[in-house]
């Protein structure tokens, strides 16, 4: 039964794969612009065997983890502090509000100029892009915590920092994790687009390098790898989220 459910649930994807295979072969689409899926699969295998996929993939993953990790490390305490301290709020809120709607990819040329082609420019871009969604979700989450829960903690003799990080942040966890999840999706967008434009390695670089060279089958293979990584990361995070929020019952 579970197998049948599984097959039914993912059947649209299988149909899409079949269409991808059939359309170029039947001449509905120019095989130059869209090589059949089987050809792409062979390229994927070759790309993996050459080691290019692994080296570039690891490089990209490192940028992603570092950028998003920094955004969480700084965004959560800053957002929580903003929600609970007027002075922090007065200083940070206008900056956060002004920068929130700004498309972070607009910073790519600036970061290229300042930080060059190495890891720093990509990590900074991902960090900046993810910081605000994480910060805002921590801010909104902590602000929404019932005051009596915080009072309760204070009446057990806890100081402001213990109340903030021991009670307010865990209570805000559902909203905070939802914010981190959207930041995770955003981090893939920023990663790939920044590697298109300012990198000498990474999966985004690989895609643009292969595309520029007219090697479309391996280019599609690299696109599939990036998409699968994004999908897997989201699923993994969703699983983690469910475990962390098991208390919601």
């Amino acid at each position: 039964m579970r197998l049948i459910d599984f097959l039914i649930r993912w059947s649209p994807l299988a149909i899409l794969a079949l269409a991808w295979e059939a359309a170029p072969r039947l001449g509905l689409i120019n095989p130059q612009s869209l090589p059949p899926l089987s050809v792409v699969a062979v390229s994927l295998w070759q790309l993996a065997a050459s080691g290019d996929l692994l080296t570039n993939g690891l490089q990209s993953l490192w940028r992603l983890v570092a950028g998003l990790g920094l955004a969480i490390l700084i965004g959560v305490p800053l957002g929580a502090a903003m929600a609970s301290n007027r002075i922090v709020n007065v200083i940070v809120a206008p900056i956060a509000r002004a920068l929130y709607p700004m498309p972070k990819s607009a910073l790519i040329p600036v970061l290229l100029l300042w930080l060059g082609l190495g890891n720093a420019s990509k990590i900074t871009l991902i960090f900046l892009g993810c910081l605000l969604p994480v910060l805002m979700s921590a801010y909104n989450g902590v602000r929404g915590v019932e005051p009596v829960m915080l009072w309760s903690a204070r009446s057990f003799g806890r100081g402001p920092l213990s109340v903030l990080f021991g009670v307010a942040v865990p209570a805000a966890m559902p909203e905070l994790l939802a914010g981190i999840r959207s930041a995770l999706a955003l981090s893939f967008v920023l990663l790939v687009s920044s590697e298109f434009l300012m990198a000498r390695d990474g999966l985004g670089y690989l895609i643009s390098f292969l595309g520029d060279g007219g090697a479309y089958a391996p280019m599609f293979a690299a696109v599939i790898v990036v998409s699968s990584l994004g999908f897997a990361a989201d699923r993994l995070f969703l699983g983690l989220m469910r475990r962390m929020l098991a208390w919601r019952g």
Binding site: M149, W151, S155, A171, W247, R248, G249
Partner: protein
């Protein structure tokens, strides 16, 4: 020396562009060690505000509040608080919730574990130690909150309509449990409620509050002897108290609805 003193307490709220709303005006009340005193009044009479002022959650504007001779300046473990909506930590299990208040008390891990178990047993939640609040009924949640508060051994207990969110049957059971706890470990308690019968059934004294501005209208001593069980509610004396207090509260309750 009285354990708790409210002396000429006044409290007002300011909303932008409007005249100050006086929530409490010239409130005087003293509570002796071991007494169970209810603050009874319609919603909006400032009874919860009075409790929050004593709890130290809301800063005092005018007047004095003394706890064992010392002015209240902020929350502290000497005043244990139980809230209407329990204020449990939903990501902590029953055991972890009750242990929370004990974490800063310098107990050994073993002493803490034992004390947590003792209070779990007291509120009859054996078997639910590892449940989360979301998995418990309202009555069970409030028992966890009571155990969490009592476990730190406060000097006084402040209860803000603690059974207001429970259904009638559960509320009656909770009354008996609270009385049983009080018999075993007598403790000064200030109990906020709008339920006249509940106030009479549990209290040594009932302070009737009027609204707009909130003030204490009258303090009635309830002389019903030791509460041996719900049968007492059928006695003539009990119902006289209820009728009298209800007549005192009614005018304000009607006013509050307008």
């Amino acid at each position: 020396m009285s354990q708790i003193v409210f002396d000429a307490v006044r409290h007002g709220y300011r909303t932008k562009g409007r005249a100050e709303m006086v929530a409490l005006s010239d409130v005087n009340l003293t509570v002796e060690q071991g007494e169970f005193v209810s603050l009874l009044g319609p919603s909006g009479c400032g009874k919860s505000t009075l409790l929050y002022l004593l709890g130290g959650f809301v800063p005092l504007q005018s007047g004095r509040i003394l706890m064992e001779g010392k002015p209240v300046t902020g929350p502290g473990p000497d005043r244990g608080v139980v809230f209407q909506n329990f204020a449990l930590f939903p990501w902590k299990t029953v055991r972890q919730n009750i242990a929370y208040g004990l974490e800063r008390q310098g107990l050994t891990a073993q002493a803490r574990t034992e004390r947590v178990q003792q209070f779990i047993d007291m509120v009859q939640l054996r078997g639910f130690e590892d449940s989360f609040p979301s998995q418990l009924s309202g009555g069970m949640r409030q028992r966890v909150a009571i155990a969490r508060t009592l476990a730190v051994d406060p000097r006084v207990l402040l209860m803000d309509e603690p059974f207001g969110a429970l259904d009638a049957q559960t509320r009656e059971i909770m009354h008996e449990e609270l009385l049983a706890i009080m018999r075993r470990t007598p403790m000064t308690t200030i109990f906020v409620t709008h339920d006249v019968r509940e106030a009479v059934y549990l209290s040594d004294r009932v302070a009737v509050m009027s609204s707009r501005p909130g003030r204490i209208k009258e303090v009635v001593t309830i002389d019903l002897g030791p509460r041996t069980g719900p049968d007492i509610m059928k006695s003539a004396k009990f119902n006289e108290y209820v009728e009298y207090l209800w007549s005192q509260v009614k005018t304000d309750a009607v006013k509050a609805m307008q």
